[in-house]
Symmetry: C2
Subunit: 70 residues, 2 copies
């Protein structure tokens, strides 16, 4: 696994963990925050590395500072 | 200022601060780490938001964990 996919996996796991704390599904969370459901699922599954803009949007929706995702 | 440029400014400032601690110039640092000098200067100046791959590369070169940049 290269560094990029290791980072994507780690971020996805962290995002999923925080999203579940909100008692939301990935589909609901994505829709409520104007994120494509497919894109969000790929992020949670560590299949895509989000842009920093997207990550900032997700952090805001999760109610945590950006650094909390790392 | 929108969120994206606020984030770019904050990141650039933090990167510059850590790069200076290495007693390196932005040009030297970029060249030594295989980053385009112009791109790196734009990042430090908060004019461009780096990708997460680039940010990870920079963090590694600065010898800090990625979360330290936020």
């Amino acid at each position: 696994m290269n560094n990029m996919s290791a980072l994507a996996k780690k971020l996805g796991k962290r995002i999923r963990e925080l999203r579940k704390k909100q008692d939301s599904t990935s589909e609901k969370f994505a829709q409520e925050n104007g994120i494509s459901v497919g894109y969000f699922c790929d992020i949670e599954n560590g299949k895509r590395l989000p842009t920093l803009e997207m990550l900032e949007k997700i952090a805001k929706a999760l109610g945590v500072p950006l650094r909390e995702l790392f």
